[in-house]
């Protein structure tokens, strides 16, 4: 952790990608503050820009226009195992992450071993892992590095039920003193864990609210084909 935590500020962020059919404007004019106490859920259909938003918050991608300020340390998009080297063992991959973020290598390995319950598989090349094992390693690593703000991309949706439970418990625990941004198709998880939501791709500008439950209900109605009606403030 960086010690001094401030908010993450996105101001008028735009992002578009070139596709064969032309330019695809994925994010339009997004302004967003993530405070150290925020647990933000991101809702939106496939292609609405959820993962892009996560990458921009994390800094692995630059916006085309607008600015991003980070007052706290931010994780990589957890659940994304692509940064792990397939031919290297889980242990070697964990060592690499620890070194990159300047953490104590042994402490990180100990934590990963305990949390992931991979046991002797930690010595095997990452490419031999099942998707559940990959999720275990990815999630354990992101917890071991201790970021101020975790970016979680669908990771809690994979793995067996006991591991999913473990992830949810861990998120519950860190939600007391750390921020996270959660993308999850399981709306129930967002409902339970988050205290704010942002809905992408339903309107010209993204809808943000701290009325998590009612926003999710409105989003569910929208998914069923009804027009998007934002929840009224009480």
């Amino acid at each position: 952790m960086s010690g001094v935590s401030g908010p993450i500020r996105l101001r008028n962020v735009h992002k578009s990608y070139k596709t064969k059919a032309g330019w695809n404007h994925v994010l339009r004019d997004i302004s967003l503050d993530i405070k150290p106490t925020d647990r933000l859920g991101v809702l939106g259909r496939n292609g609405a820009g959820k993962s892009t938003l996560l990458r921009i918050i994390g800094g692995s991608e630059m916006p085309d226009a607008g600015s991003v300020e980070r007052g706290m340390s931010v994780s990589w998009p957890v659940g994304f195992g692509g940064h792990l080297q397939p031919s290297m063992s889980g242990r070697a991959n964990a060592k690499f992450c620890a070194r990159v973020y300047g953490r104590d290598v042994d402490q990180v390995i100990d934590f990963v071993l305990k949390f992931s319950e991979l046991g002797k598989y930690l010595e095997e090349p990452y490419r031999t892992y099942s998707s559940g094992m990959k999720a275990r390693l990815g999630f354990a690593l992101s917890m071991a590095i201790e970021f101020d703000c975790l970016l979680i991309d669908e990771v809690t949706a994979v793995g067996d039920p006991s591991f999913r439970q473990k992830c949810n418990d861990a998120l519950d625990e860190i939600s007391e003193n750390r921020a996270f941004v959660l993308i999850n198709h399981g709306l129930a998880a967002i409902d339970r864990l988050c205290n704010r939501v942002i809905v992408l791709g339903v309107d010209e500008t993204p809808f943000q609210s701290s009325m998590v439950h009612r926003t999710i209900k409105a989003y569910e109605r929208c998914l069923k084909g009804e027009p998007w009606v934002p929840p009224e403030p009480q």
């Binding site: 070139k18 990458r55 994390g58 800094g59 692995s60 991608e61 630059m62 085309d64 931010v74 990589w76 998009p77 994304f80 692509g82 940064h83 080297q85 031919s87 290297m88 070697a92 060592k95 690499f96 992450c97 070194r99 990159v100 973020y101 300047g102």
Partner: protein, 259 residues
């Protein structure tokens, strides 16, 4: 200033981690990883040695044949591995950029460092083998040998960095350079010396920036050889400005395309 020092420390940490990761990923696959890596060039040089000593005798201007091949092979090889490794560094490590502390320039630096040390180590091993087999001596002008080796590397770094940045826009840029480098192997003096060619060709040979490091390496290593074309300033004169352009483009295209 403090920000700069913090960034520098972070960069250093990241480059260290990247080098260890590359070593592990490249050579760590089997216990004999490094041995396999050095065997590749040794087998190629061995095959050429065999052909040139038994089937097609080569006029090497009194240079011992094996050492003649080793000096040419590793000087040109340093350049090509540098270009290939740097140009493909970003695309094959795209996912690493998910880590906020990892910058593309760190990835390039890590690969460049690793190529330099590996080539240098392999060169030394091959040279020692050459001395044992042929009884060839140590380089007589170490300064010139070092300048030539560095020249090959500098040219590789400058072209590799530039191509790496261009590949952000045109992923197939490397496909154009690959054939050029392949022809370069045959026209850069790896298998001949400038002095055995007719003197009217020298004016054309000099245009090739890679002929100078190879010729410089031979002139520095063997006391008997005087190159008729050697001008390392020409190589550096191309490499250094191109390196500045490459680094500028790298900055412009960092983390995605910007127009």
């Amino acid at each position: 200033m403090q920000q700069f020092v913090t960034n520098l420390e972070q960069s250093q940490r990241v480059i260290h981690a990247l080098i260890l990761r590359e070593i592990n990923g490249r050579f760590g696959a089997s216990r004999l990883g490094y041995l396999w890596a050095i065997l590749g060039p040794l087998i190629s040089i061995g095959a050429l040695y065999f052909i040139f000593s038994f089937f097609r005798e080569r006029d090497t201007q009194d240079m011992p044949l094996l050492m003649f091949l080793v000096t040419g092979w590793f000087t040109f090889g340093f350049y090509t591995s540098m270009v290939n490794d740097l140009a493909n560094a970003a695309s094959s490590n795209q996912a690493l950029l998910m880590h906020a502390p990892v910058q593309r320039l760190d990835v390039l630096t890590a690969r460049g460092t690793l190529v330099t040390f590996t080539t240098f180590a392999f060169f030394v091993i091959a040279a020692v083998l050459g001395m044992l087999i042929e009884g060839s001596g140590l380089p007589h002008d170490v300064g010139l040998v070092m300048q030539s080796f560095a020249g090959a590397g500098a040219l590789g770094i400058s072209i590799g960095t530039t191509i790496s940045a261009i590949m952000t826009y045109f992923p197939f840029a490397m496909n154009f350079l690959q054939p050029v480098n392949r022809i370069g192997f045959f026209v850069s003096g790896v298998l001949f010396t400038a002095s055995i060619l007719p003197s009217w060709t020298h004016a054309y040979l000099k245009w090739n920036p890679m002929i100078h490091p190879v010729e410089g390496m031979r002139q520095g290593w063997f006391e008997s050889y005087q190159s008729p074309v050697l001008d390392l300033r020409y190589t550096y004169g191309i490499a250094l400005p191109l390196m500045a352009i490459g680094l500028y483009l790298e900055r412009r295209t960092r983390r995605g395309i910007k127009f």
